[in-house]
Amino acid sequence: MIKRILIFLLFVLISLWKAAAQDGLTISPLFDGRYNNNSNAVEVLVKGKKLAKYNLSLFRSLTLKNSPDQYRQIENMVMTDGAKAVNKETGKIGSRLFYGFFQLPSKDGKNRYLFYRNNSLSRNKSDEITLVYMEGNTTIDELKNMFK
């Protein structure tokens, strides 16, 4: 009987570990908590019930202000993941990525989206970049209209 209980607990632990596994994206480290205590950053994490009405299962975003030294690095990460996109819409100012809507290859039957905007490149905008990563069953057009 004890063996059965141990096997059950082991199964639970494996399930939890699997759920916590990295999703293999280059931008993943940006959401590992490194910006939690940064006074120039706003990081959002929403999972589960709150997203049900948006047909999403995961929402992550990072808004970073007044940190130009990190913008280029983040842009490179976005470009690396964006290169794998199955559908994308991008805008550039010069050689720099101004904004990008990327639909990444689906995983576990869920659509994955990466949205990016670098307002520091625009003269009339505030000095900030915003990165949004979403997972769910919604389409990119639905997403664009959803938050109007």
């Binding site: 209980i5 990081e43 999972k47 589960g48 019930k49 975003s61 990016y116």
Partner: protein
Amino acid sequence: MVRKDNNMNLSGHSLEEWHQLVEKYFDAETTEDEEKILSRFLTSRYCPDKEFDEVKAVMGFLVTGKDIHKKRSTFKLYRKPYRWIAAAMIVLIAGSAAWKITDNRNNVCVAYIAGNKCTDSREVMNQMRLSINNVNSVEADNSVDDQLKDIFGTINDSEQNN
């Protein structure tokens, strides 16, 4: 020596006969019926106390021992179900804990705003909408603020040129 008659009068024997029966009992030669008759006599009002104290003590001890043995046997019978119930409860508790952990992992609503943790779901959802609006370039570019900036920017440029 002793008649096997359940209806016999307990006082229908002489003390000597009862003593003989006691000796027979101690020699382990009595039958079950004889033991029953003896025990009935020992607990009756016809039994002199002092003379039969020893046999009373022995028989009482054996009866108590039998009762305890019976209880233990009964407990053994039910011991396994208790173990199963305990095991089921452990599994239930572990399952509930696992479900709770999984639920907590699956339902998260948190924001870190300028280094401060915020778990107020309304504020977090506002931040979420704000993030989306920030990246939604078409909407952002057409916002009232941007349009006003463009208008005043154009006016300022015209005034400077003049």
